[in-house]
Amino acid sequence: MMERLSKSVEKTLEMGAHFADARFEDRKISTIFVVNDELRDYQNMSMKGVGIRALVGGSWGLSSTSRLDTDSLLEAAERAVRIAKHNAGKVEKKVSLDSAKSMKKSLAARVKKNPLDVDSESKLSFVMDLTKAQKVDDRVVNTNSRYGEKIYNFLLVNSFGSELEWEEIRTFAFAHSVAAEGDKREFSYDVKDGTKGFELIEEIDPNAMGEKVGNESIELLGAKRPPNGMMTVVADPDISGLLAHEVMGHASEADEVVKKRSFLTPMVGKRVATDLISMVDDGTYPGANGMIPFDSEGTPSAHTSIIEKGVFRGYMHSLETAAEMGVEPTGNGRAEDFSRRVWVRMTNTYFKKGSDSLDEMIEETKEGVLTSKAMRGMEDPVGGGFEAVALKGYLIKNGEVTDPIPSFTLTGSALDILNTVDLVSKEFELSGGTCGKGDEDWVNVSSGGPFIRAKIVVGGA
């Protein structure tokens, strides 16, 4: 396959491309889904294909196909150049990627136990145990458990002479309970994931994880209506991670910066938070869900400082944005798969931990809210607005955690929030998942960090 990719890249250069790369992907995903003690779904997915990119002037063409024979790839190469050439005349800026480095490397995933070497019975048994454990009470009316493994293999050839081969392995476990009492229904969940093999699953006690989720769903049946308005919030790692990822992270993606869509465009060297806040994107973080050896352009992943002691330091880059801004690429040029374009994307994005303990943070809060787990967040690179939905939370009164509250939303200007951060915990956690850019283009990431205390508008019903 490497030879076929090389021939395709050669073809693009013969046709006038200034830069080209060809990426083969073989993605295998297997999932087991159990609902209410019964297997609902056990499936394998295999996705293979090649995407060939050609750059002419400042215009990119990408042609992709699931047909892998030489003729189909050469045809795709021709098409990529034709598309790029057609639009090249309409693009004023020229992109020169001449500073990109050539590399030849082959990297296997660093896992202890490849999921492919584990028998299906062990995987099924784990999911069944996880489901049974959730049934802590008759009020738990629905239990859902999922096991998954993702095994991705990549080959990449580019016109600088790079030939790369690498593997990514991820596993995950997910538990979700629904509790009901009268007309009221509430749910809770937990998820563990990462760039690990089956050892990630073996490190989980399915009984403890399942029971915890079941009990949390019941606890929410008695939750009080959340408060509305500006509050002192002790944001847990999930919510602080969303603040890092959704607002500060997406706005630090350099493709948003070069087109001046980011509210952080003029901010390098300026204070954006209290000096307790430092933030990084780290694609090298061992075991984290967003860890990648190379991005989709073949750039090695990196540890990129975004905020240091409250001062904004810089952006994440693809080959194109790095060339445009005259800096080194940071390994953040990522595509959902071979048929999708590369954007600048995050990997593992988080605030660095501080020196306070969570207990101290709560003790020092007279009245406020402690968040617990996230349901979702939304990016706003233009306006810098923060929106995150917490799964649940607890009221804090006179330094003590009191009543649980159900799902509520946190919002406000991210810079306003970060400039009120006065406590940052030494407890630290990353949560994985996937991230879309705009409406689609999902990639594996993680976000998280410490608990942080700040002033945030909360609202719920």
């Binding site: 019964e38 297997l39 779904d41 056990y42 499936q43 394998n44 997915m45 295999s46 996705m47 293979k48 294909g49 400042g58 215009s59 063409g61 990408l62 042609s63 992709s64 699931s66 047909r67 598309i83 057609h86 639009n87 309409k90 693009v91 004023e92 299906s120 099924l124 009316v141 629905n142 009901a180 229904r185 509430e186 959340p226 509305n228 308005g229 500006m230 070069v258 087109k259 001046k260 869509r261 048929s339 374009r341 979702r376 939304m378 233009v382 306006g383 607005g385 929106e387 939905v389 799902s407 509520f408 939303t409 919002t411 406000g412 879309g436 705009g438 409406d439 689609e440 609202g459 019903a461």
Partner: protein, 463 residues
């Protein structure tokens, strides 16, 4: 494109020889063309052609599913082998009975295939994208930092061992553009997303005008302070997304059977306002999820879900229909905004096109009838808690109404409330029906609804 009928035939034939009790093969081919704008200029164009298939087999009540990209017929047979292997390893699914039987397809649907889409190249799409840009940037200082158009034509075929053989050809168009204007340290963004089955008839110039005027409204918006409880008009596209995250969940037969739905035991109950009707319409002309069959090959049928405020019925895929002893027809895997990857998942229970029939009042008339109120044009992410109906949504652009007129635009606020309760407090239903897309472009299920005025929600500001 690949001969999909032949792929399914080989899979069914081999599965039968292998002695499986039942088998279902879904295969799909598509061509996709995309054009991306960056910084008001062409930047990236994509042309993609792929095929894939998914196969589900049953060995008695042991079921397995596997899927694969297709570069040659052998890939489909390898997927079949993988599905059989999984079925052998799986515990019994006591609810599994069979795959859907042959039923006559009587419904027809118009406007779901536009022949201009397969004929259009990514270059043609780029030309249209630039019409949006030129229209938007006709406003001084307006930029289009980001935009994209994707057009797909596809065919899928579904066959199973009961002898069912069906298929459908369709086209999909998805557009997403954002404009930006900056002035005196402030910036405003205007966003428009369009889901359609047609390329012809799309007015690209008006999309540019729309994102331009939205950006201007946003830059002029001020941060809302305090709290306001007043009638709220929620714009059609935003309400559609709220309905997909809540009502579509509550009426799903899968969630009803698994006791997850908050409406599981409410059939026949008067739960909502008398003026409220909700249907599931897989035959809606030009509907994003419209086809004469669902993705299991079952004939598509219109269903009344809520009539005059009374919950009438749920929707079912074949598996859940058998459990509940109801009719199927709502087994979907096709995404609303893209056909890609639809073969990687088995069909599951989903609404097709969730519709609220339009009322008689235009948006301006609805606004004119409110002495005090709020009009929400854009949320950050219009998603509702599917179990409780509760929401707290960040308002990206809203207008405060006083004495029947828009007084000012506001942002940095939350609209809070409970949509399930709100559906019982409907004040007015507009006549401006539009589509609301799902949270994920690749998810099945679209919503077509007008703007609706509700009572009982609250706007919460920063102080």
């Amino acid at each position: 494109m690949m001969d999909l009928g032949s792929v399914n035939e080989r899979v069914i034939s081999k599965a039968t020889k292998e002695g499986v009790s039942a088998v279902e093969s879904f295969s799909v081919s598509w061509r996709s063309k995309s054009a991306y704008i960056e910084d008001s200029r062409p930047n990236f164009a994509i042309e993609d052609e792929q095929s894939g298939m998914g196969v589900k087999v049953a060995l008695g009540k042991k079921v397995g599913f596997a899927s694969s990209s297709l570069q040659k017929d052998e890939d489909a047979l390898a997927a079949l082998d993988a599905a059989i292997k999984i079925a052998k390893l799986s515990p019994e699914d006591t609810h599994f009975e069979s795959f859907p039987p042959i039923k006559e397809v009587t419904g027809s649907v118009e406007g779901v295939y536009d022949g201009t889409i397969p004929e259009s190249s990514s270059v043609d799409l780029m030309d249209r994208a630039m019409i949006v840009v030129e229209s938007a940037t006709a406003t001084k200082d307006m930029e289009v930092p980001k935009g994209m158009i994707r057009a797909q034509d596809y065919e899928f075929r579904i066959s199973n061992s009961t002898g069912l053989e069906n298929g459908h050809r369709g086209t999909l168009l998805f557009l997403s553009f954002s404009s930006k204007i900056a002035e005196g340290g402030k910036s405003g963004e205007g966003i428009e997303k369009v889901y359609s089955t047609q390329l012809k008839g799309i007015d690209f110039e008006s999309i540019g005008e729309k994102i331009s005027s939205r950006a201007i409204n946003t830059i002029n918006a001020t941060a809302f302070k305090g709290k306001l409880e007043a009638p709220v008009i929620i714009a059609n596209s935003e309400l559609g997304q709220m309905l997909l995250s809540s009502v579509a969940f509550a009426v799903s037969g899968e969630h009803v059977n698994k006791k997850r739905s908050p409406w599981a035991d409410k059939i026949g109950s008067k739960m909502f306002s008398e003026s409220l009707n909700i249907k599931d319409d897989p035959l809606l002309p030009g509907g994003m999820q419209s086809a004469p069959i669902d993705d299991e090959g079952t004939p598509a049928v219109r269903k009344t879900l809520v009539e005059k405020g009374v919950l009438k019925q749920f929707i079912y895929d074949h598996y859940n229909a058998q459990i509940a002893e109801q009719e199927g027809g709502n087994g979907f895997r096709r995404g609303v905004g893209t056909i890609e990857k639809s073969h990687f998942i088995p069909a599951s229970c989903s609404v097709s096109n969730l519709t609220i029939p339009p009322g008689s009042k235009g948006l301006d008339e609805m606004i004119s009838e409110l002495d005090k109120g709020i009009y929400v044009e854009k949320f950050a992410a219009p998603e509702v808690n599917q179990f409780s109906g509760a929401f707290g949504l960040e308002v990206r652009n809203a207008a405060l109404i006083e004495k029947g007129e828009i007084r000012e635009y506001v942002k940095f606020a939350l609209l809070t409330g409970n949509l399930y309760e709100g559906l019982g407090k409907v004040l007015m239903i507009g006549n401006d029906s539009a589509i609301g897309g799902p949270w994920m472009v690749s998810s099945p299920g679209a919503a077509y609804c007008p703007s609706v005025a509700f009572d009982g929600f609250q706007l919460v500001g920063q102080e």
